[in-house]
Symmetry: C2
DNA sequence: CACCATTTTGATAACGGTTCTCATTTGTCC
DNA sequence: GGACAAATGAGAACCGTTATCAAAATGGTG
């Protein structure tokens, strides 16, 4: 029998909109009837982040928030009121980054780009 | 007599290249002969961040790292090996962000963009 | 199934950065 | 100097995360 933790985490992600903290994911899993320990949640999330199955960003307080993502490389547009999240991708910006880095003589560039604002519903 | 903490923090920043943690700034200040408590460092940094005098980013562990910045709005290109930091600004990317946000119906967009890599010295 | 080696799990302790508390110190004004 | 307000900082508290390690689950093997 294969490990059972990952499917539990994936199901928890499916029940949550946008980014979620480790504790929120744990609560969601328990609510789903999937009993598991908080330590296991942290451990599995660490693995999924290292496998790039899950994106992680830190909020203003430094708390990690996770999201299960579909595509290989993209960024996020998040509503800071309701949590609605859109995935965004643009070749333009990737090109711009590479250009900036090269002209400064930098190599092996990684980047973080996150956009936060109010969605159309929350703005009205 | 005005408060004395802020000049002490600014002097600590001057002695550090790139981003620094609260503890590093405290150590730098003490090394400068400016005795002050760590709680005071945190308090003043919070003020300076809220006044947008200081930029703050969170490293992979979630620890806050601060930088005293000159210009109003810009981003950073940081060498992850030696800490060398270049400030970068580009109207292109700001325009792209506004376009993406508008087409998704989002308002009042804030953004985080950080580039990390190896500087020319460290890459060789 | 019985046995044992390996892996996974999770309750709890430990850790570390940040914030809070509040008594003491410092500044300001008369 | 005296009275009041503001700033300071040592230490406690807080809280998200990671480390521990014993118990449980797994999976061969005979
Ligand atoms: Mn994503
Ligand atoms: Mn800057
Ligand atoms: Zn919204
Ligand atoms: Zn470097």
């Amino acid at each position: 029998m294969a490990h059972k933790t990952r499917p539990v985490i994936l199901r928890a992600f499916r029940g949550i909109d946008g980014f979620a903290s480790a504790r929120e994911l744990h609560a969601q899993a328990v609510g789903n009837g999937d009993a598991l320990g908080l330590a296991t949640v942290y451990r599995e999330l660490r693995r999924m982040v290292s496998e790039e199955i899950v994106d992680v960003v830190h909020d203003l307080d430094g708390e990690a928030r996770y999201r299960h993502c579909d595509e290989a490389h993209h960024h996020h547009l998040v509503c800071e009121r309701c949590g609605l999240t859109r995935e965004i991708a643009g070749e333009e910006i990737e090109t711009w980054i590479i250009g900036v880095a090269q002209s400064a003589g930098f190599h092996q560039i990684r980047h973080t780009i996150e956009l936060v604002g109010l969605c159309s519903t929350c703005a009205s």
